[in-house]
Symmetry: C2
Subunit: 433 residues, 2 copies
């Protein structure tokens, strides 16, 4: 390619080559306009039929929408053009002609259902509003990683092919691994814990997780991108501080660096959270939910929170909040209980008013208690020996959490369906593209 200028950088007086997609062609008779679109925006290309090379005009006006072209010419100020400038083409190359019929209209003028959009993500992502979601998603990942590094956390990658699932159970996709049965990992939980016992002490990972759950809802995925954090020598309160810190860092970064994207998505007030996230104990949460009167039946201690209960509390609180001090029996066995109250766990959830975002807690770091937990869960501790045995060789107290970037982006941008926040979602029906 010759030196190419983004349309957004083309200034009056420049002589440039721009390349992109034919967004629209409007033929007004003596003159005609071709709108060329690239990553950065759009530019109007003006054809003056009587004054320009015939072949050039014919090529430019005959090319199908969404074809890829390259145009060279001068840039002039033009008040009536959408961006205030227009190009007068001197040459035009058709780099790849598109079919006349498209399965999806990238101009967004014709609505398409989500399934058609996901089948044609390439075209779907030519819509600036869709592109904006994924630019924001990338910015969220950048901001979260930077935050982790600012607190001395080391990035790790742990294996996705594993011999046993994190919590055993049935929600695993089986793999054939050189003749052996293996699984796709449902969480880096055990591996990140092994690493806080190493010299790294404090680690994070951003990577895929796989869950063979059969539900098919607007907020579940069978493959998601998880942000995992785990640190030695912190407790669940400090883990919540870090969690809150990453979330605020993500919102702040998006507000600061994604102004154009937020504009496109129609945000006047983006709503970066300010102030500390309230931390309600499970008991307080239940009382508040019952007090809303929104539920048909009053909750009692030990109940898990239904979607309706979460919604009622979310509306009541009105922003992000933590729920702490869960009954031990409804939290995973690897979460530590309070020493003075073994029926209450040091697990926590971070809630967005719309849904649960984060699960975390202080972990059980004592070998005996951990092995007991496996047994109570009905799991064979022998199978997890590669993990539990390290707890005999100096495992520090530690805490951590995980959240999916898709749920974060979904709640941040108010998306109706979590599939809007994934390029190529995987669910029960969807395995391709």
């Amino acid at each position: 390619m010759d030196e190419r200028t983004y349309t957004a950088d083309a200034e009056p007086g420049d002589h440039v080559t721009v390349a992109g997609w034919v967004h629209e062609v409007r033929d007004l008779g003596g003159i005609a306009f071709l709108i060329l679109r690239d990553k950065s925006g759009k530019i109007q290309v003006k054809f003056e039929k009587d004054e320009m090379d015939e072949e050039l005009v014919e090529t430019g006006l005959g090319v199908h929408r969404e074809s890829v072209i390259s145009v060279t010419g001068g840039v002039e100020e033009e008040e009536r053009a959408p961006t205030g400038v227009e190009m007068l083409p001197e040459s035009l190359d058709v780099l790849n002609e598109a079919d006349a019929e498209l399965p999806l209209d990238p101009s967004g003028k014709v609505d398409a259902d989500l399934s058609t959009r996901l089948d044609n993500r390439t075209l779907d992502l030519r819509k600036k509003e869709v592109q904006a979601i994924f630019e924001i998603r990338a910015e969220v990942l950048r901001a979260v990683r930077d935050y982790f590094r600012s607190i001395g956390s080391t990035e790790i990658n742990t294996p996705k092919i594993v011999a046993t699932g994190t919590e055993g159970g049935t929600e695993l996709f089986p793999i054939t691994y050189f003749g052996e049965e293996a699984f796709m990992n449902q969480s880096p939980q055990l591996f990140k814990q092994l690493m806080v016992g190493s010299g790294l002490e404090r680690v994070f990972e951003v990577g895929p997780i796989f869950r063979a759950e059969e539900h098919n809802t607007p907020r579940h995925l069978n493959e998601a991108t998880m942000i995992d954090f785990e640190s030695a020598f912190i407790d669940h309160e400090e883990a919540m501080d870090v969690c809150e810190g990453t979330l605020k860092a993500a919102y702040e970064a998006v507000e600061e660096n994604c102004e154009a994207e937020l504009d496109l998505l129609g945000y006047d007030d983006f709503g970066t959270p300010d102030g500390d996230f309230p931390r309600l104990t499970y008991e307080e949460a239940i009382e508040r939910i019952n007090a809303t009167g929104e539920l048909d039946e009053q909750l009692v201690y030990g109940d898990d929170l239904s979607t309706e209960a979460e919604r009622a509390l979310g509306d009541d609180v009105g922003g992000h909040y933590f729920i702490t001090d869960w009954p031990s029996e409804i939290k995973p066995f690897y979460i530590q209980d309070y020493e003075d109250d073994p029926t209450t766990s040091k697990g926590f959830d971070l809630m967005h008013p719309r849904m649960e975002l984060v699960s975390g807690g202080q972990r059980e770091h004592r070998y005996g208690a951990l092995v007991e937990g496996f047994e109570q869960q009905g799991l064979d501790p022998e199978q997890f020996d590669y993990y539990t045995k390290m707890f005999k060789y100096g495992m520090p107290p530690h805490a951590g959490w995980a959240y999916g970037v898709e749920r974060l982006v979904m709640t941040m941008l108010g998306l109706e369906n979590i599939r809007e926040a994934v390029l190529f979602p995987r669910d029960r029906q969807r395995l391709s593209p």
Copy 2:
């Protein structure tokens, strides 16, 4: 946890709490020393038996090596201490006692074979030299991502569960996906190409790839972390520029930000590449290899380069270099050929003197030629319809490449085995931990 100070931050005159692992206890009679180790370094804790609380002394000197403890006390200057300071303990908590017998000696005084080390990665990573590799690996990822962002590339995540492999073929791990056959993805190739045709134009991904290759060598893994780049509107030459840019950025960042780690690993001169990487055509490469006289048999045009051939050329060039203009028949079908010479492809490899690092090229963006390529490869284009059909709707010219972070770290640090650069490697024998 109470406020904790890293050992490296403890200054004479401070009163601090440090927490970490018992690295060593030396009892000299009237006085004894406990060396406490944490992420940041080590500190000497001095016990004066006659002057200190008897229980404190007994606990401190009786605790097993690699136990996790927390010590509070004053810090004093002490020339004879390894770090120039020592602590006088006032209180000491044993947070988690280690077994007396360890499967691996984290002090590194007793050698362990790689398999034992990988079985006990938690202990293995308490060795500063091992920890250093993974701190450097994390810095490499940071630097490469920052470089990508500096050239306007958007981070993406593509699915790891797929209906068909990138190049078809047999080197795929099969999954059972809700009763359907699926595979773990061997490369984001097809997905990243779909994204350069979207509004994103220029993308990168850092994520796992899975290859069911049966070889078991010091430089192959069955699960690796791949750095993928792809961009619209660039050719193979520009793709090589970006590739070279990321590599130099990684070396520079490590040299600048990982001084302590490089010291630990014994580097006087790290060898950040300077100057442009030479770009040899395949024909030039063959001539140079033949001229070295290192090979028993002369290479002829069309031969792939054996490991010995790569070594001979690597020694001859003495640094990183590209090989371009490969015969089309030994490059994947999705690499574009020269228009004026369809037997020569726009594929390239980036070589380190020790081994191949990167594979890349300009891609075939024309629908007809792409479908023909699938057929010539013996693949059914119908199966890849989700991918090929997007080439009918305005796929721009594009190019890209991929390299594994493990090979990069391995060559950067001169590691003998690629497994040294992965926390939990996966190979034919190793599925756990």
